[in-house]
Symmetry: C2
C-alpha cells in the first residue's frame, strides 16, 4: 500500500544582484512579473537580497518589506516604492510587457528599457535597492519601504496595512516616493473625490410627457455648471496646483417611450492641497445648490511640506526646481501621518500603464546619483 509521494517544489526566488548597475537591476525586477495580487515572488527576492546586508534591519508584513539602517542619526528619511504593476498589455506586440527588453546602443546611456513596470515603478525600486546595498554609512538613517497593492483599491494598499500593523517602522522626518517624475521633484499631490447627483423624476409614457417629470432634464444645470467651471490654479508653499472638476459618468433612461424617473451624473473633483477634504466637499456643495451630493470616494490632498528643513535639504541636493504633483499618490498617506513627502523617480508618468511602458537607463542612473549625493553629502 505504498504510493509515490510528490514533494512540493518551493519556487526559489530569483537572486537579485543589488550591486549591479541600477538600470540592469530594473530589468531583473521587471522580469519577475508582479501584477497586483501576485507580488509574492518579487517580495521574496527583495527580502532575500536585503537580508544579506547586515547593516539593514529587515521586517516583512505580507508582501511588504521594510529595511532600516539603525545608525542613530539625528534625522531619518523614508525611500518608498511599490512592488506591484498594473496587468500586462493585452495588445500583442506591445513592448511594455514581461520579460523586459532593451533598445538602443548597448553600452551607454542611450539605452531604453521596455517592460511592464519600467516607469511605474521598478526603476524607482531598483534605485532604492541599489542604495540600500551600497550606503552602509548614510548621513541620515534611511528606511527603505517596498509594498504591495498600490495599483488597486485603496482598501488593499500595502502601505496602509504597514501603517496599521507597524506604524513605528515608518516614523521619519521626510519621505521620498520614487514614483516616476522624469527626475524632477514633485511636491505633495492634489486630493481627489467623487460624488454623484441623482435627481428623481416621475415616469410617464413619453406620449403624455406632461404627466411625468424628466430626471435627465434636471441634470441640465449641473452640466452647465461643469461646462462653465474654470478650474483654479492654486499656489501652496510655492508650487502651483491645477484643479479639475469633471463629469466622468452619466446615465439615465429606460426605454424609448418612457420619461425617465432617474438619472445620475458622477463627478470627479481634483483639488489643491490648500483644502482639507471637508473644505473640498463644501466647495462642491456650493457649486450645486438645490442638489443632493452623494460622496463615493474621498482622498485628501497632500501639502508639499517643502518648508521643512529635511525637504529643503533634499531639494537643494537634487538641484532642481520642485514641481507640483497633479495625480494622487501615496505621498498623501505619508503627509496624513505628518511626514512631509515628495515624489522623485525615473521615467515619464505619462507612460505609466501604457502598452509601451519604457524608461531610459540614463534616467535610472541620474535618480540614483541624486539620491546618493543627498544621502552622502
Amino acid at each position: 500500500m505504498t504510493t509515490a509521494r510528490t514533494v512540493p517544489q518551493v519556487p526559489t526566488p530569483p537572486a537579485l544582484d543589488l550591486t549591479a548597475d541600477p538600470a540592469e537591476l530594473t530589468a531583473a525586477l521587471i522580469d519577475v512579473e508582479s501584477v497586483s495580487g501576485n507580488e509574492g515572488p518579487l517580495a521574496d527576492a527583495v527580502e532575500a537580497a536585503l537580508r544579506s546586508y547586515p547593516n539593514l534591519r529587515v521586517h516583512r508584513d505580507g508582501d511588504a518589506i521594510v529595511a532600516r539602517t539603525e545608525l542613530g542619526r539625528s534625522e531619518r528619511v523614508v525611500l518608498a516604492g511599490h512592488l506591484d504593476t498594473v496587468p500586462l498589455p493585452s495588445v500583442e506586440g506591445s513592448r511594455g510587457t514581461v520579460p523586459s527588453s532593451w533598445s538602443g546602443t548597448d553600452a551607454d546611456d542611450d539605452r531604453v528599457l521596455w517592460g511592464r513596470g519600467a516607469t511605474d515603478m521598478k526603476g524607482g525600486v531598483a534605485v532604492q535597492l541599489a542604495l540600500a546595498a551600497s550606503l552602509t554609512e548614510p548621513n541620515r538613517d534611511v528606511t527603505y519601504v517596498f509594498y504591495d497593492h498600490e495599483e488597486v483599491d485603496s482598501a488593499k494598499s500595502g502601505l496602509a496595512r504597514l501603517y496599521r500593523n507597524a506604524p513605528e517602522m515608518l516614523e521619519a522626518d521626510f519621505a521620498v516616493l520614487l514614483e516616476p517624475t522624469n527626475g524632477t521633484v514633485e511636491g505633495g499631490c492634489n486630493g481627489t473625490l467623487r460624488f454623484t447627483i441623482d435627481p428623481a423624476g416621475l415616469a410617464a409614457h413619453s406620449g403624455r410627457a406632461w404627466r411625468g417629470e424628466n430626471a435627465i432634464h434636471k441634470l441640465a444645470d449641473v452640466l452647465s455648471v461643469l461646462a462653465e467651471y474654470e478650474p483654479r490654479e492654486i499656489e501652496v508653499e510655492g508650487l502651483v496646483y491645477r484643479e479639475g472638476l469633471n463629469a466622468i459618468r452619466i446615465q439615465g433612461g429606460v426605454a424609448g417611450n418612457v420619461i425617465p424617473d432617474a438619472a445620475r451624473v458622477e463627478i470627479n473633483y481634483r483639488f489643491a492641497p490648500d483644502k482639507s477634504l471637508d473644505q473640498a466637499q463644501e466647495h462642491c456643495r456650493e457649486l450645486f445648490p438645490g442638489h443632493e451630493l452623494t460622496f463615493v470616494d474621498l482622498s485628501p490632498a497632500a501639502r508639499p511640506g517643502l518648508d521643512r528643513p529635511s525637504a529643503a535639504a533634499f531639494v537643494d541636493a537634487v538641484g532642481q526646481e520642485p514641481q507640483p504633483k497633479y495625480g494622487w499618490t501615496d505621498v498623501a498617506r505619508f503627509s496624513e501621518k505628518g511626514v512631509p513627502a515628495v515624489n522623485f523617480g525615473p521615467g515619464d508618468a505619462l507612460l505609466a500603464h501604457t502598452d509601451d511602458e519604457h524608461v531610459t537607463a540614463a534616467a535610472i542612473r541620474d535618480c540614483h546619483r541624486a539620491l546618493e549625493n543627498w544621502l552622502t553629502a
Copy 2:
C-alpha cells in the same frame, strides 16, 4: 415491429358567439391568450365565426382577417382593431391576466371585466365582431379589419402587411380604430421621432483633465434647451395637440479617472399633425445649432381629417366633442394612405399594458350602441 402512433391533435378554435352581449364576448376573447406572435388561435376563432355569416366576404392574410359587406353603398368605412396583446403581467395576483374575471354586480352595467386585453383592445374587437354579425344591412359598406402584431416593432405590423399584400381590401372613405379612448372620439395622432446627439471629446487621465475634452460637458447646452423648452399646443382642424420634447436616454463615461471622449443623449420629439416629418426634423435641428442630429426612428403624425363628410357624420352620430390623440396609433397608417381615421373605443388608455387592465361592461355596450346608431341611422 408495430408501434403505437400518436395522432396529432389539431386544436379546435373555441367557437365564438358573435350574438352574445359584447361585454360577454370580450371575456371570451380575453380567454384566448394572444400575446403578439401567438395570435393564431384567436385569429382562427375570429375567422371561423365570421365565415358563418354569408353577408360578409372574408379574407385572411397570416393572422389578419378582413371581413367586408358588399352592398354597393356610396360610402365605405373601416372598423379596425388588433388581435394581439402585450405579454401577461409578471406580478402574481395581477387581475389583468388570462383568463378574464368579473367584479361587481352580476346583471348590470356596474360590472367590471378584468384581463389582459380588456382595454387594449379586446373590448373594441368584441364590438367589431358584434356589429359584423348583427348589421346585415348597414347604411354604409363596412370593412372589418382584425390584425396581428400591433404591440411590437412596426416592421411586423399586420396592418402594414395587409396594406402591402391587399391594399384594395382596405380602400375606404373613413376609418374608425377601436383603440381605447374612454368612449370619446380622438382624432388623428401626434407624430413621433427620436434622434441622438453624440458629441466627441478627447480622453485623458482625470488628474490631468486639461489634456482632454469632456464629451459629457458638451451635452450641457443640449440639456439646457430641453429643460427650458416649452412644448407647444397646436390646433389642427379644431383639435389641440400637445407636443413634447424629452431626453429619454443619456450615457457617457468609462471609468472613475478618465475624462470621457464620448457621450450620447437620445431625444424623443412628439409633434402635432400640422407638421410633416421633414418639418419636425427641421424644428429639431434648429433647436440644437452646432450639434449633429442622428435620427433613429421616424413616424409621421396623422391629421384628424374631421373636415371630411364621413368623419363629420361619425362625430355627429357619436354626439361627443372630439379630442386630440396624443399617442401614436395605427390611425397614422390609414391617414398616410389618404383615409381619414379616428380612434374610438371602450376603456381607459391609461390602463393599457398595466397589471390590472380592466374595462366596464357599460363602456363596451356604449361603444357598440354608438357605432350601431351611426351605421343604421
